[in-house]
Amino acid sequence: MRALLYASTVAAMLLFSGCSGTGPAIDDSAAATNQTEEINIVDENSAADSESGIESTNLDSAGLTLESIEAKMLPIYFGFDLYKLTDEDVDTLRQNMELVTSDAQEMNIANKYSLKLEGNCDEWGSDEYNFALGLKRANAVKDELINEGVAAERITLVSYGSSNPVCAEKTQECWSKNRRVDFKLRP
């Protein structure tokens, strides 16, 4: 069942971007075998409890998983107290969507998952405004994705404020890494 859902997600990415890509040929029979096995071992509770709702599982002969796709998607970074996208950010966003599209083609799977955009802030303030700032950053990315043709109902948002840092050093460079929006693929 999980494999079926995975397949749906990446196919959704295909629909989002409307682009086609090239990739290595997929062994359909291997994918089908994995799909059958997943139905027997799926644990929906554990999936719901995990941070992203996604676990590392080989889905196809190329070893692609939603997690591995997520890992390749670049965060969008923001300036201090800012939540507008620059042209460079839009390029990064398009790059991410092309990547997803390409991997989706490779996996040849159908449409069921959605995109989760996680807004984050640096450590300068843990108050409500900071959470709202993280959310506005995620919302700015959502608006641009919609401009790129992604269906709005397939995008969800969450802000973690300053509670999900990727860097803990007290430097400008580190803080700038924490002012970001992460892309997650979710059930």
């Binding site: 996680e118 300068w124 303030g125 108050d127 409500e128 709202a132 969450v158 509670s163 979710r186």
Partner: protein, 415 residues
Amino acid sequence: MRIIFGVFFSALLLWGSDATIEVTKSVDALPSIAVEDASSDYNDGLSQRFYRVLVSDLNVLSIFNVDRDYVNAAFSDENVADSHKEINYVVRYQLVDNNGEMVVDVKLINNNKVMHTLNYRLKNPKQYVFLVHTIAAAINDFMGADPVDWMKEKVIISRTTGPRRSEIMITDYTLSYQFSIKRNGLNVFPKWADNTKKYFYYTDLTTGTPELRKHGVYDNSDELVLRSDGMLICSDVSDDGNRLLLSMAPEGQPDVYEYDVVSKKVKRVTNYSGIDVNAQYMDNGKIAFISNRFGYPNVFSKKIDSQATEQMVYVGKSNSACTAHGNYIIYKARESSNAFSKNTFNLHLISTKTDFIRRLTVTGINEHPLFSRDGGTVLFVKKYKNQSSVGVIRLNQNKNYLFPLKGGAIQSIDW
């Protein structure tokens, strides 16, 4: 002596009737006080910890110069210890272990005469910290000073322990008592449900979809109140506990909403395309809230059922948090043009009746200000040099006190 005290505090109250006016006084003018431990039980260190918390509390009362030397004495001794002969007041306490129950006797001595006695029984000695705060508040009341009932309040904090990890703890204002009530996941912005403090609201971000939940302190119940995409924070609870002000963003736009606890209905209070958050109940059906409607975060107010908003603060370029009590508002402001300088965020006090502004803090990141119920004291969180502390500001006494947290950082606080 009490008459002199009365005159002194009356003058202080008159002078400080507008909290935005800073009161400056000489520390030397305060009477001295010392503490004597007469306990023979609790030799495991509890009686010494009791002593340290009591000395700290007496200091926070801001009406004494407190002697900090640890001194033992016999409870029945008529005279104070030799080293305390020049001290104006002595507090002598005795802790007795009565089959697991802590029995506490306290004397307040002045000129070798017992001025006041206090007696308590505590079933759970682990909660001795709250008993110490009760003793300090009773001594304060006996001296006729401004009430300090806030000392006895249970404080609730969310402590960040790592990326996407936090725990909610019940504590006291000094962080001396700590009880972890929710350990796993990412649970933030705890807020007491009403004055009984039997329940609290909090935001659960563990699953990635914000949920506002209500947790029972004594029955460990955990009830889903609301779920919303984006963000969902309980910013304030009405005095009767029947209404909540929420920062919520069901469509990705953070706005202020009001939730009726009885009817379970949600009403949108603000409608702005930028950021509206952190709403606080004020007098006369008004709320104060933070909005970036003029291009940067600042404090605004409005009536709940009206569209018109009023700007409350006209200084500062980034005023991103506030708390309100009657006509007073405390706001957090970024002071330096350099976003990352040492004195980044300070707290300021204003009155809606005057133009005065009083700066309440000097260094570090100071946030989450909260008035006590009587409005005379402010609790806040300070972050400075990798240390997270609970801060207490005595407004009329013009005194600030800090109580550092060992490990982790305070994400949010309520009392």
